[in-house]
Each structure stands twice: as C-alpha cells, then as structure tokens.
Symmetry: C2
Subunit: 237 residues, 2 copies
C-alpha cells in the first residue's frame, strides 16, 4: 500500500493522464443451482495489476470484476459482477465513453441452460448439464468499437499459442492480443509472474521474457499508448 | 494468531486430549479441462474453525482440505487435495486410526465423465457435459465405522432442512448431522456466522441460535464429546 503510494508520487510516467480505461478481471460464476457453479482458474491478478498501473499513470480506471479474493486497487472504480451475462451488460453500458478497454477477465464461454432455484438433489448415477454459449464480450466490443478506441484481449492457451492468438485477434477485431501458454510454469493462472507474447495486426509476435504480472501490466500499457499514438497519426495523415 | 495462542493457554477445556480427529473442509474442484471446473460456494471456514478448536481442546487433528483461501490453523496437520476422488482416497486411508471424523467439506456430488487434457475450444452454440457420481465419502465412512468412532456430517439445504437432514442421518449411518438452511441470511457459505440444528438418532432436533462459526464449532465438539461418552457407557453396560 505504502509502496504503491510512494511509487505513485515518484512515478515519472503520467502518459495516460485523463484517458478513460475499462478493465475486466477475474473469473465468472455460472450457476447450476444456489450452491453449485461452473468457473475457471482466474485469480484476477493480471487485471487488477493492469487497473492499478493504469490509475497510477493518470487514467480514469473502471474495473468490472468477476470473482476474486483480491483487494480493490487504489483510485480505481470497482464494479462487481458474478456471471458472464452481468459482465456483458455492464461492459456494453460503459463502452461508449472509454478510450481503451482491456478484457483481462476469464469469462465463461458457456452457462447452464437452466439455473435451478433450489439445490438439485443427487438422485441419479449420471447427470447431464446442458450448456448454452455466453455472449462473446470481446467480439461484441470489436464490432462496436470506434476507430480511436484501443481494444486489448488475452489468449490463454495450452497449445499452438501464437497461431490461436493471431486467429483470435482477427476474429475479435482487437488491436492487441496478449497471448500466454498457461501450461508453462511461471505463466497463467494463480501465479505472480507471466510469460506473454504481444500479437498485433500486421506485425510479428513480440515475445516478452518471464516477468512479474505488475511489469507485464506496464508493458501492456506502453503498448496501448503506442497504438493510440499510431491511431492519432493515421487520423492526421 | 496471538488471540488464538492466549485462548489456547487459558482454555480450561482439554476434553479432547489425545483424541484423533479428522476434519474435511473446503470445496472440491472437478475439472472439465485444464482451466475449467465445476465447484461450489464452500469457503472452508466451518471446517477450519472445527480443526482449530479441536486442536486447542487437545485433539490430534488432521485437516483434509479442498480449495480455500484460508491459512492453515496452528497445530493441525493439513493435507491439500483438489478433487472429490483425491479427498475420498485420503479420507479412507486415514479413517481406521480416527476417534472422530467431521465431514465439513462440500464435496462435489458429480464430476465430468471425461476431463480433457487440453483446453476445449468453444466451437458450438450448445454443449453438453456428461457427469458421473462421485463416491459418497460420508456414506462410505458410515459403512466402515467402528462402534466407537463418532461420525459427523453437514446438511446444507435450501428447503425442508430438518426433514432432509434426518433422512441424511439415516442413509449415512452418521452420529450427528449439523443441518443449516443456506438460503437464510447469516447462515451457510462465505459468511462468518451460521444458524444450525443438531440432528441425532432418536432425538428431537436441537436448534441453535445464530452464532459465530467458531462458537458453532465449539458446540459441535461438545456434542461429539457427549456422544463419545454415551458410546463408552453402552460398552460398559
């Protein structure tokens, strides 16, 4: 806390001053009944680090947070949601006013077709859960985005990481995909470090070494500032 | 921590001195693939409170813990597991040497029939997950228990609480079921208090007021000591 304050005071970079940045973080919970749900391994650490770093660089940060046990970062507006549908609604509501959107949340792709009001009794040896697709938040942002908005997504993969990430960049109409191989030690869910590649349109992948998530966050923000500059440049030409 | 130490020193009750107590706590994670899983709302607080209190009353406590963000209680041997199958194996291994077993874990009733090695791609609008029943840890303990072992289970219900708990007591051959209505405010998952009823064979339900989980833990241990005494009494007659 004190370290964060001192860092904020002495931090030279205020290169996001006045920018509105929306960060999504954490996992979503998709309820089967009042006590059971489908979820994933997201700790929320990457998104929280991004929100905190962006606020320190002068941005107005809104953090739409799914499930996590992390404390809210200082100077960040936190909005808590549980399910993918709730997260979708909140992001779409806030999207028009943003300069950059970083979708770090691990949103569940599917939710149970029905969510029971009462705890389901275990009466059978087998059970089948019917799942339906959740709306694709990143793809919808990509459809709605203006030419000046910078959209960043993540690709957590266990195989063919850069190929899958490049494919994702195109399908979602994103400006940057941060790809990581979650099967590697020191990368991905729950740990404090990450090993990522930056995937941008018409550029070779930029591979970063293993770094603390806080430093990965700073590198992502550097990239966002660069992309914004190049977008402004295109406008002027 | 300091409070716990002082409490331990001044605590008069050492009525579990030398008893071997096994506590299970937390939820289990049933993997669909490397990043997705089925789970439930258990925080592990009730089980951890029981383990800590039993250790302070002189018991040798082993805590078989599923997922939780809690710190290990002092003077307790903690064994971490992820899935219901892992918890089952560990509990059956340790069962023969125990004087009492408290099954506070929220073990998933079902697991995916197949668990994928790689992250499943979301290619379809609908998906079906086939689930199979996990082994019933409490029922298996009830089958294997000796006449002197005290077996305690929990029944987290959203409706017909005492009827369901009484039924569970019979089916599992348990000595005590701690029943709670998780739909009530101040009871159940995640919160620090609980509102429970004690269900024992051939006795009317004993309804306790809303209490801190630590105090509920002490009341459960009192009940275990009483049940042990009555079991010894029967032996002598």
């Amino acid at each position: 806390e004190l370290v964060a304050v001192i860092r904020a005071i002495f931090q030279q970079k205020q290169d996001m001053q006045g920018l509105k940045v929306l960060v999504t973080a954490g996992g979503t919970r998709e309820r089967i009944d009042p006590v059971r749900y489908l979820t994933n391994d997201s700790s929320g650490k990457m998104g929280y680090a991004l929100a905190e770093a962006a606020a320190q660089r002068g941005a107005h940060v809104t953090l739409v947070s799914g499930n996590t046990s992390l404390n809210p970062p200082p100077n960040v507006k936190v909005i808590s949601v549980e399910s993918a549908l709730q997260m979708y609604d909140k992001v779409m509501e806030l999207l028009p006013e943003q300069d950059a959107v970083i979708k770090a949340a691990a949103v569940a792709d599917y939710r149970p077709a029905v969510s029971a009001d009462k705890k389901i009794k275990k009466t059978k040896d087998h059970m089948t859960i019917e799942l339906v697709r959740n709306p694709d938040i990143l793809a919808e942002i990509g459809t709605r985005k203006t030419s000046k908005q910078v959209i960043v997504g993540f690709a957590a993969e266990t195989n063919d990481v850069e190929t899958n990430a490049m494919d994702k960049l195109r399908r979602k109409n994103a400006d940057l995909i941060v790809a990581n191989d979650v099967s590697k030690e020191g990368a991905g869910f729950g740990v404090d470090t990450n090993i990522v590649s930056f995937i941008r349109p018409d550029q070779p992948p930029r591979r970063l070494p293993q770094m603390r998530k806080r430093d990965v966050a700073e590198a992502i923000l550097d990239e966002i500032v660069t992309i914004r500059t190049s977008k402004s440049g295109m406008d002027r030409s």
